[in-house]
Amino acid sequence: MSRPILSSAVFQWVLAASAGFVAIALALLWAWGLFSIGEIDGALREEINTGLEEGRALYLTDGPDALLEWVRWEEDQPIWRDDDLFEILAEDEMIAVLRAPDFEPVAGFPGLLAGSEIEEVDLDHPEIFNPVLARSIELFDGATLTFGRFIPDQQFEIWRFVVTASIALAVIVLPLSLATGYFLSRRVFRRLDGISETTEAVAAGNLDARAQIGGAGDEFDRLAEGVNRMLDRVAALTGNIEAVSTGVAHDLKTPLANIRGRLELIRRDAADPDAVARHVDGAEGRLDGLMKVFDALLRLGEIEAGKRRQAFRAVDLGGLAGELAEGYGPAFEDAEKTLDVAILPGITVEGDRDLLAQLIANLLDNALEHSRDGARAHIALHGGETGPRLEIGDDGPGIAPAMRERIFERFFRADPSRSTPGNGLGLALVKAIADLHGADIQLVDDRPGAVFVVTFGPFASRT
C-alpha cells in the first residue's frame, strides 16, 4: 500500500467515531459513578442529621441523663472501648460521643471528633483506619453531641470500578479502533484502487480501460459504473474529435489544394481574361464551400455548448415547416422530384426558431440531394402521442444498414468517394439541434428511402 493510511478519510472517520464512542461511554460511566456515590453519601448524611436531631430532642424532653443513657455502650460503662468499635464496624452502626462543656467525653467513643458541618474524619483508633463521616452539634448547656458513620466500602468500590473501566476503555477501545480503521481503510482502498487505476490508465492514453464492477451493486459498483459511463462518453467525444480532424484534413485540404491550383492557373492564363474569370469563379466557389464548413463547425460548437437554450421561446413549428416547404417546393420541382407536404397547423414547440429552421432545411437538403431520380419526398408534421412529430424523408435509395449508425457523425459521408456535394456536417447539425431541444431523432428503417422522424418531448410543446 503506497498511500499513507493515516491520511485516509476512512481511517480518520473510524478514529473519530471511536473517540466519540469512548467519550460517551466515559461520560455515562462517570455520571453513574458520581450519582451512586452521591446517593450513598446523601443517605449517610441524612442518618447522621436525623440521629443528632433525635439526640437533641431526647435531651430537651427527657434531660441529660436520658441522652447519656442513649449514647452509653453498656449500663456500667458509658465510654466505649476500642474493641467495641469492631462491633460497630461489623454491624455498620452509628458511632456517637457526648462531651461535657469542658469537652471531656462523658459517653460514647472518645476518638470521634468533628466540626459543626458534616465532614470526613479519621477516628483516633489504633487499628481501625476507615474514614468516617461525622458532625457535632452543641446542646444548650455547652455540651456537644457528635455522630459519625463509617463510609461504606461500596463507595470505594464504585470509585475503583469507574477508574478501572475508564482506563480499560482507553486501553482496549483505542487500539481496537486503530486496527478497525486500518483494515477498513485498506478494504476501501482496494476497491477504490481499481477505479483510480482505470482513470490513470485513461489519463495515460488508454481510452479503452474500464473499471471492474464487483457485482455486489454497492456504492463502489455504482461509482465504477458512473466512471465507466463517463469514460464511454469521453471516448465518444474523442472519437468525434478524431472524426473532425480527419474530416478537416480531407474536406479542407482538398478545396485548398484546388484553390492553390487555380491561383497557378490564373498566373499562367493571365493573358486570357475569360480563362482568368473562370478560374476566379471556381476558386470563389471552393472558398464559399470552405466557409460553409467553418460556419457549420462553429455553429455545432455553439449549439453543443447549450447556450442557445436561454433564448428559447414558443415557435410555431407548423408555420416554420410550411414556410420552408414553400421555399423548397420549387427546388424539388427543378430537380424533377416531388415534395409532398402534410403539415397540421397550430403546432408549437419551445425552442430556437432559427435553429429549428436549420434542422428542417438540412433534412430537406438531404432529401433533395440524396434521393433517387424522380423521387417522391415528403414533409409531415402532426401532434403525435407524446409530442409533436416531424417527419422528413424520401422514397429511395435510402441509407445502407451498415451506415445507419454513423450518419449523424461529423464529416461522415455515406458516399466514401466524397464525390457527392455536401460536407458531412448537415446531419450532425440536425442531431445537435434535436438534442438541444430535447427531441429524439430516428432514421426510420421500415420503409424504402431515408426517412427521418423528429419527436419532440411532451414538455417541448406549449399550447
Binding site: 460556419d295 462553429l298 455553439e302 421555399g327 427546388a331 436549420q358 432545411a361 440531394e369 456535394p421
Partner: protein, 227 residues
C-alpha cells in the same frame, strides 16, 4: 448616385487597402482610421454617409465604439465587419446600433452593395404602397404585380423578392441580402433558395415580355434596371 463619403475603421491595413481601392473605383471618398479613439473624434466631427467599423480593434472593441457613437447622438449608418459569425454576434451588433453586419471573409461586391443600401437610408424613402419601374408595377397592399398591363401570377415568395428588388432600383441586391430579407434565417441553406425562386420570378416577369428587367450581376447578385 453621387460618390459616398465613408469612414473606415479597421486595423487590418491590407483589408483596408482593398476596401479603399474598391471604393475609389466607384469614385467614393474613404477616410481610413486604424485607432478607435481618433476614429471616434473623426466620426463625431465629419459628415460621413456611412461608417465601416471592424468589430475587433486594438484598445477598444467595435461594439463599444458603436455604443459611444450612438450615445453621443451620431446617427451615421454603420456597417460592422467581423470575424465572429456566431448566431448571437449578429444580434449583438444590430442591438448596439449597427445598421448591417457582415462576416469576414466577404466579397467586396457584397460590402459595396450593403454600403449603398444603408447609406441611402439617410434620406428615408416613404414606404409607398405602390412601386413602379418602367412598365412593371407593384401594388403592395393588394399583393398584385402587373407588367405591360398584364397581371403577373406570383407566389408570395416571388412577390417578396420582386418587392425588394424594386425597393432598390438600379442597385445590386446580393443573394445574402435577399436571403436575410425574405427568409430571415442566420444560416445559408445548401439548396440555393434565392436562385431557385429568382429564376421562377424571371420566367414570369421577364421571359414573356422580351425585355429583361432583372439582371444578374456576376459574382454579386441581382439588379432591377430598365436601362
Amino acid at each position: 448616385m453621387t460618390g459616398l463619403n465613408i469612414l473606415l475603421i479597421e486595423d487590418d491595413v491590407e483589408l483596408a487597402g482593398f476596401i479603399e481601392k474598391a471604393a475609389a473605383e466607384l469614385g467614393w471618398r474613404v477616410d481610413h482610421q486604424a485607432r478607435p479613439k481618433e476614429a471616434l473624434l473623426q466620426a463625431g466631427a465629419g459628415a460621413f454617409d456611412a461608417l465601416i467599423l471592424d468589430r475587433m480593434l486594438p484598445e477598444m472593441d467595435g461594439l463599444s465604439v458603436l455604443k459611444l457613437l450612438r450615445g453621443a447622438g451620431v446617427e451615421t449608418p454603420v456597417i460592422m465587419l467581423t470575424a465572429m459569425g456566431g448566431i448571437d454576434d449578429r444580434v449583438d451588433g444590430l442591438e448596439a446600433g449597427a445598421d448591417d453586419y457582415l462576416v469576414k471573409p466577404f466579397a467586396m461586391s457584397e460590402l459595396i452593395a450593403r454600403l449603398k443600401s444603408i447609406a441611402r437610408r439617410q434620406a428615408p424613402r416613404p414606404d409607398t404602397p405602390h412601386r413602379e419601374m418602367g412598365d412593371l408595377s407593384l401594388d403592395r397592399l393588394r399583393h398584385e404585380a402587373m407588367r405591360a398591363g398584364q397581371p403577373l401570377d406570383l407566389s408570395p415568395l416571388e412577390f417578396k423578392l420582386l418587392d425588394i428588388l424594386m425597393e432598390h432600383p438600379g442597385e445590386v441586391v446580393t443573394r445574402t441580402m435577399l436571403l436575410e430579407k425574405v427568409w430571415g434565417y442566420s444560416f445559408d441553406p445548401k439548396t440555393s433558395l434565392v436562385q431557385t425562386h429568382m429564376s421562377r420570378l424571371r420566367a414570369k416577369v421577364d421571359k414573356p415580355f422580351g425585355q429583361d428587367l432583372i439582371r444578374t450581376v456576376r459574382g454579386a447578385g441581382y439588379m432591377l434596371s430598365d436601362e
